[in-house]
Structures are given as structure tokens and as C-alpha cells.
């Protein structure tokens, strides 16, 4: 079983989510439903911290792309946090996710 954890911190209309661990075919559906649950219809801004994601495959990336497209259509801003030098940062820029979300830092 692949393990990932989704930590959620809500402050007013802002939702901060920290995803960590590994995401692949095995747990992609679980992670996706956890992410959806974390974001209420009241949210205005979502930040998704991927700095502690050790591994994410293409199926995992599909979830993030789907999320980015959905939030965009709901006018909810998405900020993706991935520290320089991390595996996650590399994947975000290699896949073009940074075109659908604000990448920080």
C-alpha cells in the first residue's frame, strides 16, 4: 500500500493543504477524494504544499491537473508550493502544472 497523507488547515476562506508521502495508482483515488473533501465551496484560495511529496507518478499528476482545472473554473485561486531542489518542484515544472497554478516560492 502506497502511503500519502493530506493535512488540511483552514483559515477563513483560505485552505492550506500539505500533501506528503507517495502518490501512485494504488492510492490516487483516495488522495483525490481527500483533496476534494478538504476544499469546501466557500473556499476562495487554496494552497497546496507538495514539498514533502517523495514520489508522484503520472496518475498522481492527473489528480493535480484535474484539481487545478476545476478550481480555475470555480474561480478559486490555486497556489502550488514546492521548495526548490525537491522532487516535487521538478515534477511540477516538467509537467507544466505551473501554467495552471501559481508556483511558490
Amino acid at each position: 500500500m502506497t502511503n500519502a497523507s493530506v493535512a488540511v488547515h483552514v483559515e477563513g476562506d483560505d485552505v492550506a493543504i500539505a500533501l506528503s508521502g507517495e502518490v501512485d495508482l494504488d492510492n490516487a483515488a483516495t488522495v483525490e477524494s481527500q483533496l476534494h473533501k478538504a476544499i469546501s465551496n466557500q473556499a476562495k484560495a487554496v494552497s497546496l504544499d507538495l514539498s514533502d511529496v517523495a514520489y508522484i507518478d503520472s496518475i498522481g499528476m492527473r489528480i493535480l491537473f484535474a484539481l487545478a482545472a476545476t478550481l480555475e473554473s470555480l474561480n478559486i485561486t490555486l497556489t502550488v508550493v514546492a521548495q526548490p531542489g525537491t522532487a516535487a518542484r521538478r515534477v511540477v515544472t516538467l509537467s507544466g502544472l505551473d501554467r495552471l497554478a501559481v508556483l511558490e516560492p
Binding site: Y55, S58, A68, E72
Partner: protein
Amino acid sequence: MTDPNQQPATDRLRRIELVTEPSLGHLDVEELLDELLERVRELLDVDTAAVLLLDPSGSELVATAAHGIEEEVQQGVRVPLGRGFAGRIAADKRPVVIERVDHTNVINPLLRDRGIQSLLGVPLLSAGSVLGVMHVGTLRQRTFTEDDVQLLQLVAERVTVATQSRRSAIEHSAARALQRSLLPGALPSIPGVSIAARYVAGEAAGLGGDWYDAFPLPSGGLFLVIGDVVGRGLRAAVVMGRLRSTVRAYALTDPDPARVLSLLDQKIQYFEPGEMATVLVAIFHPTLDKVEISCAGHPPPVLAPPDAPAGLVDLAVDPPIGVRPALVRRSTTIEIPDGAVMCFYTDGLVERRGVDIDERFAQLCASVFADEADSVCTAVMRSLVGSESASDDIALIALRVRGDEGQAALDIHVPAVPASLTHIRTALRRWLVNASVTSDDATDILLALGEATANAVEHAYGPGRGTVSVHVALDGSDVLATVSDVGRWRPARGENRGRGTTIMKECMDDVDVRSDASGTTVTMRRRVEQVQR
């Protein structure tokens, strides 16, 4: 004779096991079910037995095998989920017993017409989801006991396992065959380019949706695409096939890499919502010193110049295909030094769990050098794959531009049919560009060769057809061209005969036509100016 109902259940089950054993491995799903149903009929002492499997949409059950009520299969009976006897079993995922059949509890007229009095049906369940329904019926009224229900459930379990493993084996080989059929049989042979590729199907993970494709464009450019459909198995392979034909179609209508990807994106979001793929499209300029690339979330190519270490190409990267509507896609133009090698690949080559991707990129770059394309593929596979078996699909395509071997001669052998003329012109146009022939000279040579080849197509062969061969080479500062066929020219018909020869003579410095019993050869020569490069 022993009443089968009196036999211990274990004995009866053994008979079912007999038909699910591996020795029946050669049967396909339908044959296997057929065999099983015959046993079930004897085992439960019933008159009819049938299996309905859920169709791929998951909304209807389709009669797949039947005994005693073969019409179900022959007439292709379909039962909507939730309706009628079988539909209820599938929807509620539990057994249903009907002691007395009438139109209120059975909607399938076949069951009623057949005179079935009592029915027992159980769901075929796999990990909690319904695969189908199995039901048995009797022509006399019968009370199915709790034991009967349990026995049929046990049989159903075995049927499920057998059906599933057989189905996935068939899917697997179908996907393989499909995938193989979708890979280019042979890479295009293009003057000035050496091109090679490797494709390895993922072993442990089953199948992916990787593909590559390369072909010359009518404009004289070279179109290359490499992509990876997210997901596995037959489904990914099928989506990949659709992407591939779509890309080919758009490549011809609008040969601009960002436009091709935008159109592909629109098509996928409309017809295959929910699918995602990373795709890279590269269009090489006819002169082969420039390539325009648009990248949809795909790993960057490697460029190895002849005099410097290889590196990843810096590209504008847009999101994958299938993610978001109306995305403005970008492209990047890359200069290719003479003799350089470019490598395109899918993530299966570089991604390894627990290994830093940049480490793998560095390893890849270290194994790419400006050499023959095939040697490059060999070196890359040896360094990055070695003896490990692939867990994901790997596609790799390497391309070397020109090199220092000088301008090779152009050799074309094609059927002498009108459709070949455009191919000959395309190849010749590219060859002339590569040979740095000025555009005035090139226009004349194209015209002269066009006339000569058209003559061969028109006059050399009867309805049996044949081939036409074109050979073009640089001879000092001359272009020397021959067009030959092995047919017998028939006398001219129509008005315009002879005009072709006039044009050839006007365009070339020297034209010689030799015709004998073995065929006709037109030899032409023209002094050309070469552009300094």
C-alpha cells in the same frame, strides 16, 4: 440413478472444479462458460442455465452463454441494470429466487416463452463489484433451497475467477497486438537523417499507452511525435491509437506543433473526457537545421552537438493533453548543429522510484553522443535500462542530422502511379535544400524531373503497372539525375506529347533519353550554384 441433490455438496463441486482447471486454458471466455453451464445444469438438476455479463458501459447485462435456452445468446438479449429478474440481481448484488414465473417478476419474454416455472439467480461478484449474473431455471415448479442458493454462489465464485483471468489474458494479448500494430513498422528513410527507435512494453505493470511516430511532411519537413497516455491496459492502448491517428490527421492539415497539440487537446476533451496524455510534437524544417517543438507535459528531449556534451533541451512546457479547455499552447524553436543527435523518450526511461530524476537525466545525457542513431539508442538503453525488466513502457527515438558523410545520393523506387509523383517531389525538394542548391536551380530541376517521372508513369506500363526509379546525385558542381523504368513506352497519344521533353531540355543543360527493350532511362545534367552555408 443417483439423485444429484443427494450427493454431498463437495462431490458436486468437484465437477465444477474439473472444468475450471488450467487444462482448459485454451478456451476463450464464451467457450469456458459454455462448458461450465453444462456442468451446472447436471449439478443442480435444472433445465436451463445462463450467464449474462455486464457490458463495458456498466448499464446493461448481455447474454453471453446459455444452456437449454440458447436463444438468449442467439438473439443477443440485453437486460438493463435494475430491471427484471437478472437486472435486479445485478443491481442489488444478492441472489433472487422466483418460485413461480409470471410477467410481473420476469420481463425477458424468452424465459416465459420457454415455459420456465422457477428461477434462481446469483450475482457474479469480484471485489464487491458486479461482473454479471448467473441464473438457472426449471420447467416444472421447484422450490430452490438455501443449499441450492449456496451451491450456485460457490459456482458463481469459480465462474467469476475463471472469467476474469481469461478476460484479462485476452485483453492483455489484444492490447499487445494493438500496440504492436500501432507502432510504425519501419521508420521513414529520409536523406540526410539517420533515425532509430526502441520500444519496450512494461512487464510487471501490464501495458501502457506509449507511442512514437515519424513521417515526412508534404512540405519537405519531418514530423515527429512521442507520447504517453496515462493509465494502463487495453484502454490506454486504445486511447493511444486514437491519439496517434488524430495527430497524423492534424499534422497534414495544420503542420504547426502548437496548433496540432491544441486541436488534439480539443478533440480528446470532447470525445474522450477524463483521459490525460503527455505528448511532444517536433517539426523539423526541411533544411534540418531547425526544429520547432511544442510540449504537453512531456519530458524534454536531449540534444548532443558534435563538439559539446549532451544536455536537456530548454523548452516552454505546457500542461498535458486532456486537462483544461482552451489552453494557449506554445512552441520553441531549437537550432540543430550539423551532425548533432536528438533523443526523444517517454518517462519510463528516466523515472525510477526512489531515484532523483535529475540524477537520471544526468545519466541519460551522459549516454547520448553525436553518433549514428542506432548506436545512440543502444547506448542509452544499456546505460538506463541495463538488465532490469521494465515496469513501465519505454519508448525512445533518436535522430541524427546529416553528419559529415557529405551529401548522399537520392534513390527512390516507387510504383509508377500518379500518387507517387508527389512523394518524389517531396523527397527531391528536401534533397535539393540539403545540397544547398539555390532556389532558381532547384525549381528547374524539380520541373525537369517532374516531367520525366510523369512520362514514365503515363507511358511506360500497361494496366499491369511497374515501378519508376529516380537517382539524383551531386557530381562536382553538377546535379546528375536519372529517371528509369523497365517498361515499353507506347506511342504518344493526345496533343501534348513532346512538350515534356521540351521542358526537360529547357530546364537542364543536357538531356539524354535511351529506350530499348529493357526499358527507358532519361539522364539529365545541370550545373548548379551552391549556397554557402
